[in-house]
Symmetry: none
């Protein structure tokens, strides 16, 4: 193990230069005019994987190419097999004028490397590639087989990945998937994310009169759809911050005492959090902390409201219709389709007869949970502890990573989410950055992870 760690230390500058090179590709998947940059970036990545000794394929898909890179297999030797997932595509860099220096010209300032894609996700999967390079270049035998799957459509919905996984299900079948694409509270709190929230969306429209009406001539004799919508949606949440839809909480797996204790260990400064969000007061479901509310409890959010006149001044009408965009964040084991049905049924029951309700179901994804006491999770926690020299924390994320459900379904394996991002990394925002310490310690974590995982298999 020592040669591997020494190699990582001795090549530190080279790894930084490599990341600088990698982030120069403007591999923006959302923007068609960057299609050639996507191809160049994927080609460079494949060449790099080959150069460090991985058996590499640049795979065509209906969308952007996928890089598949494997450690050389020893014939007849059966080792555990782990898949490392990452993505080389990045978010658009707009608005460009808010960047201190250009988005695709890396700048190092102190411990930070600024560039689009530095944290999300080039720096994070490059850390794993560098760790494996150290094994291969020092001739240190890996206790497992590894396959890197690095795709180019994560920022646009992973469209091609599902088909690719189904087509390559046999060769990709593995014991565990490792993904570094989430975050940790700070450098003293390396983290294993063991749960994600799910989501389900819907659009509710209340139709009243066949057109906007003069509120003087007709107002008072006909239902106002905007008022009806307010009264309808207002009933979805009670005074204790709980969602009133009957059956909504039936499938919720409540937090265990152990989990609540772990979540309470997380660094959290309420006044700093309020200041960061720009609010005077926090609020949410009674009986839960802010961290629990935003990661381990389901929610009902109104994402948008539209009705009547929205321009300057006043327009004295009874609007013809009123609309709301809704999303519900879900937790294990809530099922998106079941929740949609419960919500629709409840709203239909509450909807006054003087308006007509239209309910349009939207996209959905289930929540995710792996046991933090499983052997692979415990192995990951040991690797985090030894690499960062601190006690790691257990995290639940409030957002969704739909791909982990796809992996579970197609490859039958759970994902270990070992994110290296910091809260101020600005992924998806101007001035995205990546901590060079997170990068270096991430490589060490990866190097330590494979023996731990293999030993626990």
């Amino acid at each position: 193990m020592q040669p591997v760690l020494r190699y990582l230390e001795e090549h530190r500058q080279e790894f930084i230069d490599r990341l600088c090179h990698y982030v120069r590709f403007p591999s923006v998947s959302a923007q068609p005019h960057h299609r050639a940059d996507i191809d160049r970036c994927a080609q460079w990545l494949a060449d790099h994987c080959r150069s460090i000794g991985l058996e590499t394929e640049l795979c065509k898909t209906p969308g952007n190419p996928i890089v598949l890179a494997k450690t050389p297999r020893k014939k007849g030797v059966k080792k555990p097999h782990y898949l490392i997932y990452g993505h080389y595509d990045v978010q658009p860099a707009e608005p460009f004028n808010l960047w201190t220096t250009p988005a695709f010209e890396p700048r190092i300032d102190g411990d930070s490397l600024f560039a689009r894609g530095a944290s999300d996700n080039k720096g994070q999967h490059l850390a794993h590639l560098n760790a494996v390079e150290a094994y291969l270049k020092t001739g240190t035998e890996l206790p497992c087989d590894l396959t890197f799957l690095i795709e180019g459509e994560e920022e646009v919905g992973c469209t091609s990945l599902k088909g690719f996984l189904e087509e390559h299900a046999k060769e990709l079948r593995c014991d565990t998937i490792v993904i570094s694409d989430t975050g940790m509270p700070d450098l003293k709190h390396p983290a294993l994310t063991y749960a994600l929230r799910g989501i389900v969306a819907a659009e509710v429209t209340l139709h009243g009169p066949s057109r906007d009406l003069h509120s003087g001539i007709y107002g008072g004799s006909v239902e106002n759809p905007a008022m009806a919508l307010c009264q309808l949606l207002g009933q979805l949440r009670d005074k204790k911050g709980r969602i009133t839809v009957p059956g909504f909480y039936d499938d919720v797996v409540n937090l265990s005492a152990y989990e609540r204790k772990q979540l309470a260990r997380l660094p959290h400064n309420e006044s700093a959090y309020k200041k960061f969000l720009g609010v005077k007061e926090l609020m949410g479901e009674h009986g839960y902390t802010a961290i629990e509310r935003r990661s381990a409890r389901p929610t009902c959010e109104i994402n948008g409201l539209t009705s009547g006149y929205q321009g300057d001044g006043s327009k004295t009408i009874v609007p013809s219709w009123a609309k709301a965009k809704l999303t519900f964040r879900l937790v294990p084991d809530q099922k998106p389709q079941k929740i949609l049905k419960l919500v629709e049924k409840h709203l239909k029951k509450l909807c006054p007869p003087a308006v007509r309700m239209e309910f349009e179901p939207g996209h959905g994804g289930v929540a995710y949970l792996v046991s933090p006491t499983s052997a692979p999770a415990q192995a990951a926690l040991r690797a985090l502890k030894n690499a960062f020299d601190c006690e790691p924390v257990l995290l639940r994320e409030g957002g969704s990573i739909p791909i982990v459900n796809q992996f579970r379904k197609t490859l039958g394996a759970d994902s270990l989410l070992l994110g290296l991002g910091l809260p101020d990394d600005n992924p998806h925002s101007p001035n995205e950055k990546f901590s060079l310490t997170a990068y270096t310690k991430g490589m060490k974590m990866s190097a330590l992870l494979w023996p731990e995982l293999a030993a626990s298999a």
Copy 2:
């Protein structure tokens, strides 16, 4: 009198062409980008008044110009003086896509002339101008002095008119004011409107986080301003359709048994009314008929809702703010400023502490009531009867004409409301129209009105 009526008959097509020309001006006072159209429209109107023999002034105001046009006065002859009020500004035409043909390109279909402003109010005051033209062009002596006051800010609260009336109080002092800006039940029920509702407007904005937030990462721990707005506004009306603001009904003058009997005489077919509005069910304050609800009872209407993402698909955010445009229709003797204060106080009390409420008061006007048995009212009823050849009815209108209170206050005169609009004219809505029969009979009514009024003086 005969030459006047003959002139009106012989020039019918010319009057229709003139109205078509007049409605082509998109004189939308609420939208600053139409400012030049306002000026062009006022200039055309002034030129027209001059061309028919009126002594005309295009008066500058701090806002939109006012057209003042007088019949030539005979020196030393003291006649009764009547003021005819109208407005050349119109409501915004949005949403444009709901118009069968463009809002500012007049279309005649059967007895209807379709265009924004056709009924509200260009067609209605043009009928009076045409009648006076008939007197002037045929050399028929008017038994009274007439002054037309046609302004350009009626749809945005008549901001400049108050100062103008005060400044010109002496020359505008008159016996009665005549306004055609209301409606009649149908062409067989010409109407004198003896009461109007008042109005007061406000805009309520709830401010939450300083920017739209990722609903996965933060949702559940911070108030959603759109949900808070729904819950806040939903509480403004109870299950019996009554407004919950404490003190709201304190100054309401209840309907007398006589009035309820008169209103019950009006033609009203509930299933036709529902069909016309395009609703399955009517609704409103318990204990009142539809006619009473929309004319003699106060209301609270949401005119517009705006929050978060309103485009295609879904955007998973907690919006930074949510806004509603509100208007309250008032009845005698509710006072707009007092109601605004009560509403603001009530909303502030109900507003949750996790959002910041901004309450922006809007325009207001008190309700209006005149005796239908006064001499000028009786004169008007005779003119209506002879022009339309039917028994006229007595109406209360649900809408507001704040200016009648200003006239009463500044000029010391009551207003006769002799509206020519029909219930399906769609003022303030797409496909506004005006009945050509109402236009023609309206001119005749105006021609007959001046001798009746002068004889009753």
